[in-house]
Amino acid sequence: MSTARHNLISAPGVATHDVEAVNDAKKRKLYKKREPIYPKLVHGKFRLAKWVFMVLALGAYYFIPFLRWDRGPSAPDQAVLIDFEGRRFYFFFIEIWPQEIYYVSGLLIIAALALFLVSALFGRVWCGYACPQTVWTDLFIAVERLFEGDRNKRIKLDRAKWSFDKAWRKIGKHSVWLVIAAATGGAWILYFHDAYDTLSHFFTGGSPISAYLFFGVLTFTTYTLAGTMREQVCIYMCPWPRIQAAMTDRDALNVAYRVDRGEPRGAHKKGESWEGRGDCIDCKACVAACPMGIDIREGSQLECIQCALCIDACDDIMKKVDRPTGLISYDTDINIDRRHAGLEPIYKFLRPRVLVYAFALAIAGSIMLFGLTTRASLDVNVTRDRNPNFVQLSDGSVRNGYTLKVINRTHENREYRIAIDGPEGLEWRILGQEETRGLTVDVPAERTQDFRIFLTVPREAITASNQSVIFTVSPDGSDESRTAETVFLSGGSR
């Protein structure tokens, strides 16, 4: 597409890069070998933002398993723990039991809505800054740069014959990659068992087989996805770029090239007039910086993860050639068109889509918050025997059997008092419990206990085939209580 290499120098320190957008959709063949991409290091505010976010995200990932949170003697003290064996999910003050899986659904709904909202406002910021694939790839590229140098040195090294210098650089890079990958897999398993415990057992072979399995899988995927596959994951494996098309609109901010300002592009010699030409000097610094191997000047594309590194690269050049920065910047599709037509750019942040996402997010968030703050430490549930529905006794009275489930979510053994409200003259019996204890039952800490309760109603009190029964359970010495409603069946009065 381009002319032969030219040696026109627009400003000191501005060089034209010998680079091709290897993932340009027009040139890309479906089944050809992956073209290696050598992203050039850029400096600027977006690069800085990405460094900061990388440190925060990776720091959180590696550090969180070691945070402690006191929950008393019967529960683990790891702040964030997915305890499959104990069937609990702990997240600081939140504790989720299997029957409360809807909290996890709520969490996922909130995450999805937040992603939609952010996408509607700022486009693919998730892909560009926060996605683990992006963060780890960025880290792996940094390691690569450390051993092999920046873009040009890496290209040269790859083309060079094998030598001691090439060997130690390659071995060093892959070793550090492997260490990072192993640390990634290693940190992953810390979320599923006590972190300190796992660390002390892991190296002596004392951890469960699943720990080693997941360690292996995560190490392997981190190494291959961030080290060798990189942009291919985003282009071929990830569904999000496709979904993204439905999540964004013409008012969303995307990394874009200002066609109106940049064209017609062309080489520029220092001192030449800028009249009658665009600001783009076709130095290809944006392409050289791109970790996805595309040319942003061709417009918004599926392959673009919106990491904004081309913005930094271009701004740097614009400063050097003394033109205004922002030739590549966050822009909306509408404004690209408007600028083309010579109209003033407009920004509409409060669009129906944004409002709907924000509203839905607020609702889901408040429901979740309400649920979590009012989560009871006690839950009861009653199931009536269905086979038989009722038992006729010799004196004309009728007996029903019930299974009362009492869930004690506190971290201490508790005594509960059961009150039964039902037909007059009702008599009760709890299977397997001494009569002297009456209607007081014990439930160990963090346990669900079933109680078989027989209720007998005398013949005179049977007024209908279906009479209401209410079990009220309250912890001994507390006002808190939970009720469970059911019925007493008798087949009608006798």
Binding site: Y31, R386, P388, V391, R399, G401, G432
Partner: protein
């Protein structure tokens, strides 16, 4: 296959087939796909070596055993053995249990007994007594508080061991005469005694003359087993006729029919067919259904 056909649009060779004018491009497979494909082939060879895979002559068990020597059949057998071993402790304790209280006071044993009892009940007892032990006409409901032969732990266990009117030497046995079928009483006498029996459990609206005639027949024919006041006798399995429970139905027709033909309910003996601890577990389960009774001194002695 005909000669090569190149697609104009893409410059790619087609497979040579044509369906309604549509040709399929013969694109090469993606590399990653091929790698996975080759890896699977390589793995399958490894798998043949490691695991049972190929038919072989009967001298080799009929199949290649594989280096690892894995056998699902052996695994299942081992699992079953491990399961039995894990249960054997409980069965030993059940075997030693002399009373319901002894089982109930040990929560782990109690849970085990009820679970074992429930599953064995479903296997062996539910056919006649129903899945919920609710019984049917002629087959007692085991949830209620009425027991023909006693409802204490030992009584229930004795019934389970030896059965009722079974072929076991120590079976519980009694027989009610077929008053009508064998011509011992006339149809009218049977109807009179039917009315009298129904009146014992609160039935009203009967003819006074019939009642007194029925009472006479009852005193001479029925009271020997069912007692002077019709309260029954557990040593003979004679039901209480004054309560609200009717094994063979409480309608006038059903009661008349019972007197006419003389019911002869049979329950098989389970001794020898089920292990003793299993019978104990079944006893505990039936006892726990709601009708279990405390052991009385006399019954305890009788049950020995």
């Amino acid at each position: 296959m005909s000669e090569k056909h190149i697609d104009q649009e893409t410059g790619t060779e087609t497979t040579g087939h044509e369906w309604d004018g549509i040709r399929e491009l013969d694109n090469p497979l993606p590399r990653w796909w091929l790698w996975i494909f080759y890896a699977c082939i390589a793995w399958s060879v490894v798998y043949w070596v490691l695991m049972p895979a190929w038919p072989a002559p009967p001298g080799m068990q009929g199949f290649t055993e594989g280096v690892v020597g894995n056998s699902e059949r052996v695994n299942v057998a081992e699992d079953m053995q491990a399961l039995q071993a894990s249960r054997s402790e409980f069965f030993t304790r059940l075997d030693a249990a002399e009373s319901y209280d002894a089982i109930e006071s040990d929560p782990a044993l109690f849970r085990f007994a009820l679970a074992a009892g429930e599953s064995n009940f479903a296997n062996f007892c539910a056919t006649c007594h129903g899945a919920g032990a609710q019984g049917f006409t002629g087959y007692p409901n085991l949830n209620d508080d009425v027991w023909l032969w006693g409802g204490s732990f030992n009584d229930i266990r004795t019934t389970l061991l030896y059965g009722i009117r079974s072929d076991h030497a120590e079976t519980r046995y009694s027989q009610m005469p077929a008053y009508g079928a064998d011509g011992l009483l006339s149809r009218e006498q049977i109807r009179n005694v039917r009315d009298y029996v129904l009146s014992l459990s609160g039935g009203t609206g009967f003819d006074a003359a019939a009642l007194s005639a029925g009472a006479e027949v009852f005193a001479s024919q029925c009271a020997t087993c069912h007692g002077d006041n019709g309260m029954g006798d557990r040593t003979q399995g004679a039901p209480d006729l004054t309560d609200a429970i009717w094994l063979y139905g409480g309608s006038p027709e059903q009661v008349e029919n019972s007197i006419w033909r003389g019911p002869f309910g049979v329950m098989p003996a389970w001794e020898g067919r089920l292990d003793d601890p299993v019978i104990t577990a079944l006893t505990a389960y039936v006892y726990s259904l709601g009708g279990g009774e405390a052991e009385t001194a006399a019954e305890g002695a009788a049950g020995e």
